[in-house]
């Protein structure tokens, strides 16, 4: 159903997205504010969802899409939680 060429294309997309995530780590490192780091993490999380979805297609494993779905949820939870935490460093948690 998914031939080798298509699988290679999807894998290449996944590799590119992973490399972009590595670039984003630089922003997570230098900050300067905590919210900058959360933004970087949010984008990395979205990229993780993309990578998992692309891998699911590349390996022809629909079951992996479940994990991508869980990821999308928890990435949202993580961003909301940390960003709310950055207000007064947990003062309003």
């Amino acid at each position: 159903m998914i031939d080798v060429g298509e699988s290679t294309l999807l894998l290449a997309g996944a590799v590119g997205t992973v490399l972009v995530s590595v670039l984003l780590l630089g922003r997570a490192m230098i900050g300067p504010t905590m919210q900058d780091r959360v933004i970087a993490l949010n984008v990395i999380g979205s990229n993780a969802v993309i990578v998992i979805a692309l891998l699911a297609a590349a390996f022809a494993e629909p079951a992996f899409l479940d994990i991508a779905l869980v990821y999308a949820l928890l990435n949202f939870l993580m961003s909301v939680a940390i960003s709310k935490f950055t207000v007064e460093r947990g003062g309003v948690l």
Binding site: V15, L25, M34, L55, I67, Y71, I82
Partner: protein, 180 residues
């Protein structure tokens, strides 16, 4: 042979791990640690272990981060730090690197991934039996679930009890008028 995606993920994971250790602000370390869990879960998926990946995604990325946040909210931290990263004790770091390299030399002694039965203890007769007979024995498609609940039911029962006991224990210690 290592594929490009594995290589990229390994770079990502090692970078996040080092950053978690180096970042001075605890909150920043937690944020980067969330990134570590994200990379780790993708690596599990690349290695065809979706159950482990799902667990890493659910626990490592989401709940662990939230529990860490709740924990550090109860502590006091240094704010307004000048430096982003901690000072590294160079001799100690060098010693760690030497130690890691020494341990890494033992890696070639391990059996190769996918080596046949007999050469690799992890892919022996027992694994073959699970993969081949699990569906006939238990009518469950997911071999991991079959092994966890059917073949190793006692073990899983023990785990459930441990989760229960740990939860009760922590609640008993930390309760302080929460459950009232």
């Amino acid at each position: 042979m290592i594929t490009p995606i594995e290589a990229g993920l390994l770079v990502f994971i090692v970078a996040t791990a080092v950053m978690t250790a180096l970042l001075r602000d605890v909150l920043a370390a937690i944020i980067v640690f969330g990134g570590y869990s994200l990379g780790m879960a993708i690596l599990w998926i690349v290695l065809q272990a979706p159950d482990v990946g799902l667990t890493e995604a659910a626990v490592g990325a989401g709940v662990m981060t939230v529990l860490f946040l709740a924990t550090i909210a109860r502590t006091t931290r240094l704010t307004g730090l000048e430096a982003t990263t901690v000072d590294v004790n160079l001799p100690a770091a060098a010693l760690c690197v030497v130690f890691v390299l020494a341990v890494l030399t033992t890696v070639p002694a391990l059996p190769a991934v996918g080596a046949g039965p007999g050469e690799n203890p992890a892919f022996g007769e027992i694994s073959e039996y699970y993969v081949e007979e699990a569906y006939d024995d238990t009518h469950v498609e997911n071999v991991v679930t079959a092994v966890l609940v059917a073949y190793r039911g006692f073990d899983t029962f023990g785990e459930a009890t441990v989760v229960f006991a740990a939860g009760v224990g922590v609640l008993a210690v930390l309760r302080r008028g929460v459950f009232e």
